[in-house]
Symmetry: C2
């Protein structure tokens, strides 16, 4: 019996890609993890969650442990609607589907929209999990550069014009993280946001807006592409997540989109719901003053980001540069002339880790000189020590 001989013809192309999680750097224990895009452990609300679970099970007893029946699960959707309306997004309950984190949302959207002939427009660089997922469905991509003001919509427009002129297939979707992008930390300007939405109408494509970091602004909120002020926000399939603002281990994400999309997504979402997890989070959001919570998160991450930027100034050679983020988790660093994936081993030997830039690019060659640092997970003293160690490693690589 040869297992491979039983595989579906549909999955065979995907299995030729790198295996999922290939980008996950192998990091020795004890390293300072500037690679981890995880929340600050101190900001995980362990005690509050414990109390909320207790309260939930006292109030609802066995209900959240059945397939259906928990009122708190229903309340969760209402709370998400509230969170969205605070950021100018007005959606009805039928326009929301709760998912197991943002990844399941991306995968379900891909399953519903993509086939092996679909062209997908992507930011370059972009979130590596999304890259993996889209490549499970299609091989046709348009990669559009990101600069310090986000997606280069001028290049996108040129690419679209060119394709139209040549009679080439146009993209059906654009996947973007317009706010505090992973990995670059950059934010699309309002001008570019307007531009991208105009292009969506003109070239008839949908926009998958991944907004996992949107709440974590340092100074001011940015209007999502899904915001009601845009006359064509119905083209946007919005992905939200509580992973960065509550806790990733609860696996709560969601999609907000036109109801035809939500219905089609439900068709293929075969893990049903996660009542216990959803009801626990629902209770937690009910018990917590999340405006206060979010304000604290913004303050802490802003301080950690400032610290990381200051340490980069201090320890990096002059040739090294980075974008200054306005929110989120990441600093994107360019080390000219250095293959950061080769350098990782040395960095790990010095006790510091990062994610090599190449994993965020469809064409990995384009990312050799970049690396992603995260200020979210490491403590302040670890950020200082980690950047210092990394500075040493890069200094010696650059002077080689």
């Amino acid at each position: 019996m040869n297992p491979e001989s039983f595989f579906s013809k549909d999955i065979k192309p995907a299995l030729k890609n790198d295996p999922p999680g290939e980008w996950m750097p192998v990091i020795p224990d004890g390293c300072i993890r500037l690679s981890s895009g995880y929340p600050d452990p101190e900001l995980i609300p362990v005690q509050d969650l414990k109390n909320s679970v207790l309260k939930l099970l006292e109030e609802e007893k066995d209900l959240p442990l059945h397939y259906i029946g928990s009122k708190k699960v229903k309340d969760l959707k209402a709370t998400l609607q509230l969170l969205m309306s605070d950021r100018s997004m007005v959606v009805a309950s039928e326009n929301i589907m709760i998912t197991s984190g943002a990844c399941q949302a991306i995968d379900l959207i891909a399953r519903v929209l993509l086939d092996d002939e679909t062209v997908v427009a992507l930011e370059s660089p972009t979130y590596m999990e999304a890259l993996e997922i889209f490549q499970n469905y299609t091989k046709h991509f348009i990669s559009i550069e990101v600069d310090k003001h986000g997606l280069r919509t001028d290049i996108l427009e040129e690419a679209l014009e060119e394709r139209r002129k040549n009679g080439e297939k146009l993209p059906k979707v654009l996947y973007t993280i317009p706010t505090f992008q992973n990995p670059t930390g950059t934010t699309m300007t309002e001008e570019r946001r307007e531009h991208v939405m105009r292009l969506a109408d003109e070239y008839d494509f949908l926009v998958i807006e991944d907004d996992a970091y949107g709440e974590l602004y340092f100074n001011q909120d940015t209007s999502p592409l899904k915001a009601k002020m845009r006359r064509n926000e119905s083209r946007v399939l919005y992905i939200g997540s509580l992973s960065k603002v509550v806790a990733p281990g609860l696996r709560i994400g969601w999609v907000a989109a036109e109801k035809e999309f939500i219905q089609a997504l439900s068709w293929f979402k075969k893990d049903l719901d996660h009542p216990f997890s959803q009801a626990s989070v629902s209770q937690f959001l009910h018990d917590t003053n999340w405006e206060v919570r979010y304000t604290i998160l913004r303050k802490v991450y802003r301080a950690k980001c400032s610290l990381m930027l200051a340490e980069l100034e201090k320890y990096m050679p002059d040739s090294v540069s980075w974008y200054v983020p306005q929110g989120g988790y990441f600093v994107w660093v360019k080390v000219p002339g250095t293959d950061t994936s080769k350098l990782l081993e040395k960095a790990a030997a010095e006790g510091v880790s990062y994610v090599p830039g190449k994993y965020f690019f469809l064409n990995q060659e384009d990312g050799l000189e970049y690396l992603r640092l995260s200020f979210s997970y490491a403590s302040e003293s670890d950020i200082t020590e980690g950047v210092k160690r990394l500075g040493k490693v890069i200094q010696s690589a650059v002077s080689d």
Copy 2:
């Protein structure tokens, strides 16, 4: 913007089927729910789970709330291995993947094995969620009758012979619930189990063994198809679930299969893991004497089943018949000459519900005279009153 115009060509055939959950009967509040395949609410371990979650968060603090890092999540696999080895299934850790319930397991297996040309052999009747899932991938099925001794392997063999003789495509997989089947409650005899495994070798197909009810035997355990005693158990992709023995709202299922299959499944499982839910269950299984727990479950469900059978004897007309289950949740009832889907409205008006048989058949016409009762969810007094009400409804339908 027309949402449908953006759908993938791959999902369009599936969208022509009945929408998912179509079988879910609409039941007025206050009905006695003999339709619900849920655990007995009294057997949901609310207090114990509450204590386990407390203990977990005290011991591991933020760890189970991150993406990775909880030791308890790792322990869960070891516990599942133990549960399996108690039932003669010997599998290594790399042969197990934890899923969001059995449904996600079925969907992932379908995604990895099926394409639009694949032939799937199914029991008739079978689990409606599985029917829905498989029909999202292919239109080619062989439906094989189930009788009181489970799958009619003689008919399966004839069908395979016939296909081979005619040069028709042979099935790549057989999906079966050999033990306490949903919906018939029947169990495949040991003779037929041997037969089906011989056929798997001879005709080179895989067996998807859905064993969601296997632990819930009334008198004696039945050897799964995955048991080590079978020389070709590697052909079996085994699906387990804690939904029926702990609580469905925690969404813990798993697949045990050859590692090539597990690797391919991981490729497409894009909801990552559910650390909080998995760690909570892991802690619960650690804190609980589950042998004692399972013994209690078996005793309670045996008593409730006996009661339901006795009430059926008392209240059903002579023409009505049913199988006597040796475990599980269900009694499968035949009401000759009656369309049970039409009768449901009358039953609901009398305050009792069931699932009409047709939803368990690929060809729904084959199921018109059947209905599924569940003795798991309703209390003993509700079982008595529910069967009595149903008897009245059926009596009047039969004498019409």
